[in-house]
């Protein structure tokens, strides 16, 4: 029994992560670990590429991402272009449980920090390597951003309406998916290490993580080929999706309510909630199949009802009748959503200067290990003393020599 874990209510108390990750998928994976008490040491450098969420996040939005992805972590500055910087990194590997990185494939080997090089330093080490396309295979050296992977996987072509350019998922769904996959892989490896004492290398291809969400498409293409439904269907579902199923315009500027009706029972409740309008008796809407076939006409009728109401009213009236309906919420809506408020989804925590920052909490509630978000992202290089002196036991002289050699630049 580990009394630490029992008393703290943190599943990963005592786990140390040496975190070289630098953009979205990477830091969002280690943030999941940090929330549950892992000590995540973020290795940064002012010499590194300036990216959103990095030390030089100057814009308001960049600052938000820095805090959201790095809440609760520690920060040190290491210049990996110096031998001293590399030496300190290797000493940190020796006292860590997990090393995480999402560079392109050549970076860690160039520092002598690829899995096969660090394993002799710490045989039980778990190394998470997250990359766009994986570290093996014919495309291993190709480079990608989240939007590249969304395009490459098929998500861009498939998301959107049939009669307009595809839109793809907004922003970088692929990075968020990669972050979840990275955290899952680390947790599986920690379980395996507890059972066997063995560490391992985790080769996460975000392309594969994203492709795993293509559902039945691979099977469908392999058995049905050209007959497979493989094009954009807007807000309608391609396989017996029910109708109405979509976003309907409401009162106000760019206000919408999402509604989905699948069964005949739901249809009757839906029509009742609308006050039995005359158009509901149209034979074109008499059965589920008919409603799907005539979805354009049906959508136009439904919208005559929604445009007369606010999105909130429409949601409330339809939910009272047991219909799946919800406001298409913007950032502003989410910030005042009563459900998210009641469940404390947004946490207000101080950053290193005592300024209050808004951080998303983990989207699950665990009864014994609720996890914690108690502070924002660390200030750049805020934890040099703890890491160098306490963790590595370096002397004043040693630290000073390294500083002179530029190891902390």
């Amino acid at each position: 029994m580990n009394d630490d874990a029992k008393q703290t209510g943190l599943a990963l108390k005592g786990i140390r992560v040496l975190d070289f990750t630098w953009i979205h998928a990477g830091p969002s994976a280690t943030r999941i670990l940090s929330d549950q008490g892992a000590e995540v040491i973020k290795v940064e450098s002012n010499n590194a590429l300036s990216v959103v969420g990095g030390p030089a996040s100057a814009t308001a939005r960049g600052l938000g991402q820095r805090h959201n992805w790095n809440a609760g972590k520690l920060s040190i500055s290491l210049n990996m272009k110096t031998p001293q910087g590399i030496d300190i990194a290797k000493r940190l590997v020796a006292v860590s449980d997990v090393v995480a990185e999402n560079f392109s494939g050549r970076v860690m080997p160039s520092w002598g920090l690829d899995y096969h090089s660090i394993r002799p330093i710490n045989p039980g080490i778990i190394m998470l390597s997250m990359s766009g396309l994986g570290r093996t295979g014919p495309w291993k050296d190709r480079v990608s951003y989240g939007q590249t992977l969304q395009a490459w996987s098929g998500f861009t072509e498939l998301t959107g309406f049939p009669d307009t350019d595809p839109s793809g998922p907004a922003s970088a769904y692929s990075d968020a998916v990669g972050g979840m996959a990275g955290a899952q892989a680390v947790l599986l490896a920690l379980i395996h290490r507890s059972r066997t004492g063995r560490g391992q290398w985790l080769d996460v291809s975000q392309f594969e993580s994203l492709s795993s969400l293509l559902e039945t498409l691979v099977l469908d293409m392999s058995v049905n080929r050209s007959a497979a439904v493989s094009t954009r269907t807007g807000n309608r579902l391609p396989h017996g999706g029910g109708a109405p199923h979509g976003a309907y315009r409401c009162q106000g500027d760019d206000r919408w309510v999402a509604i989905s009706v699948f069964t005949d029972e739901e249809w009757r409740a839906f029509v009742g909630a609308l006050g039995d309008p005359q158009w509901a008796d149209d034979p074109r809407f008499a059965s589920g199949d008919a409603r799907e076939r005539n979805a354009d006409a049906l959508d136009a009728c439904v919208e005559t009802w929604t445009v007369e109401r606010t999105a909130e009213e429409a949601m409330t009236l339809l939910q009272a009748a047991g219909i799946a309906a919800g406001v298409v919420q913007s950032g502003a809506d989410l910030s005042r959503d009563p459900q998210l408020k009641e469940r404390a989804f947004f946490r207000r925590v101080p950053d290193h200067q005592g300024e209050v920052r808004i951080i998303e909490s983990a989207p699950y509630k665990l009864s014994r290990t609720p996890g914690t978000v108690t502070r924002g992202a660390p200030a750049f290089a805020a934890d040099m003393t703890y890491v160098l002196r306490e963790l590595l036991g370096m002397s004043d002289d040693e630290v000073e020599d390294c500083a002179i050699a530029g190891a902390f630049d």
């Binding site: 029994m1 029992k6 990963l12 939005r61 938000g64 295979g137 495309w139 480079v143 939007q147 590249t148 992977l149 395009a151 490459w152 861009t156 998301t159 959107g160 307009t164 350019d165 595809p166 839109s167 793809g168 998922p169 907004a170 922003s171 970088a172 990075d175 968020a176 990275g182 947790l187 599986l188 920690l190 063995r198 080769d203 996460v204 291809s205 594969e208 492709s211 969400l213 293509l214 559902e215 691979v218 099977l219 392999s222 058995v223 497979a228 396989h239 017996g240 919408w256 799946a324 309906a325 919800g326 919420q329 913007s330 950032g331 910030s335 459900q339 947004f346 989207p363 699950y364 009864s367």
Partner: protein, 409 residues
């Protein structure tokens, strides 16, 4: 019970070998069960006599519904076992209770309170088996003013904030292709389950996991919350032009291609290519030297020039040029091209599985990450209803054949 797996001296065949899961989930959690089954857990899908309604979800082999023909079922239930019982009857509920008590994890997606009403809620099971990990996925969570609200995948995307920002300024808010709100809830639930199993290894204690699909989606949008919380503005729809023209996809000669100009060099290479084609307009002017110009005041002008130029080139030309210069450029793949992807085949992500019973061979997708300690061949295709009644109810619960017949219908 439990900790069977944790006490074994044998090296596990897969990371979750030895863990038993009772899978009661519908579409909101079906992917979570698959993730566990594919990692080696003994996932027992509990179906009503006659089979789970998800067996009737398309697409189907040759477009024809019927037993064993749902590709949805075949995809999401790989490596699971199936037992049939009616949990609404006292005998069925009692059997399910015994099965849950002999398992490590229960996964369910019923409305809040429903499992309690059947005597199968967490409190009741944990009283007998405190080691049990019990995960509930619901649209809005177990608490709060919306806890009894209904939701579909569409409503999950809407209420979580992903839909408002996906699509073009002149289209309605747009769903992501597939059932990504459901799968995001599943992905988050899986993280929470793994955290709980790891915590249990240290402490022996199980716990209850409350996953809200709305929160799962809200925590997966990269920029919706950070933009509003740090700038006071709601992010809006911008199609596939994320970050202005900086991270963007363009219509080209034979489809769409992603051209991210994330560095000065990528931008210089792009405009030099346009210039060689005589289509750079005034972009070689030093006004446009900084690649951040792509999201500045000249963005509309630049967009027009890039778009006109991109139409002259194929996806392959753009990809080859970009990748040979280490820029994250790539094609938007269409669905019918996915099975030709040499990287997915080259890494063994795609596998052809021959049918055991004369049906067609099919291509299956692999796992979202690669754990190098394990090779991960598919163990078993999705089960037929009650395929493992005798195995599971006989061997695990010690029921006699006539009892099994009575309970399983």
């Amino acid at each position: 019970m439990t900790a069977r797996s944790e006490q074994s001296d044998m090296r596990p065949a897969l990371p979750l070998s030895g863990y038993r899961v009772v899978d009661l989930a519908g579409p909101m959690g079906v992917y979570c069960g698959k993730l566990m089954a594919d990692m080696g857990a003994d996932v027992i899908k509990v179906e009503p006599p006659g089979g789970d309604p998800m067996r009737e979800i398309g697409p189907f082999i040759d477009g024809q519904s019927g037993p064993g023909r749902s590709l949805y079922w075949l995809h999401f239930n790989t490596n699971k076992r199936s037992v049939t019982l009616d949990m609404r009857t006292p005998a069925g509920a009692a059997t399910l209770r015994k099965l849950a008590l002999a398992s490590d994890v229960v996964l369910e997606t019923r409305p809040p309170g429903h499992m309690d009403s059947l005597g199968l809620g967490y409190e009741s099971l944990a009283a007998e088996s405190p080691e049990l990990v019990y995960a509930s996925i619901t649209p809005f969570g177990q608490t709060g003013p919306y806890r009894d609200f209904k939701a579909s995948d569409l409503v999950g995307l809407a209420m979580g904030g992903y839909m408002y920002v996906t699509g073009w300024p002149d289209t309605p808010p747009t769903r992501l292709w597939g059932s990504q709100a459901y799968h995001t809830a599943s992905n988050r639930a899986y993280v929470a389950i793994l955290l709980s199993l790891y915590h249990r290894m240290a402490t022996g204690e199980g716990q209850y996991i409350d996953v809200s699909m709305q929160e799962a989606v809200a925590a997966t949008t990269e920029h919706v919350n950070t933009t509003f919380n740090y700038t006071g503005e709601s992010a809006v729809r911008c199609g596939f032009r994320h970050g202005g023209q900086f991270v963007a996809t363009w219509k080209c000669k034979d489809g769409y291609a992603s051209i991210t100009t994330n560095t000065r060099k990528a931008w210089d290479d792009l405009r030099a290519w346009m210039d060689r084609d005589g289509m750079a307009g005034d972009l070689m002017d030093e006004t446009y030297n900084d690649h951040f110009v792509l999201r500045g005041e000249h963005s509309a002008h630049i967009e027009e020039l890039i778009q006109a130029w991109a139409l002259r080139h194929t996806r392959q030309e753009i990809t080859d040029f970009g990748q040979s210069n280490h820029h994250p450029w790539g094609p938007a793949t269409t669905a019918d091209e996915i099975l030709e992807n040499e990287q997915l085949w080259g890494r063994g992500y795609l596998t052809t599985v021959e049918s055991a019973d004369g049906g067609p061979s099919m291509v299956y997708p692999g796992d979202p990450y690669r754990l190098t300690e394990f090779s991960q061949p598919m163990q078993r295709t999705a089960p037929v209803p009650g395929e493992h009644n005798a195995e599971v109810l006989g061997s695990i619960l010690g029921l006699a054949p006539d009892e099994i017949g009575r309970i399983s219908g």
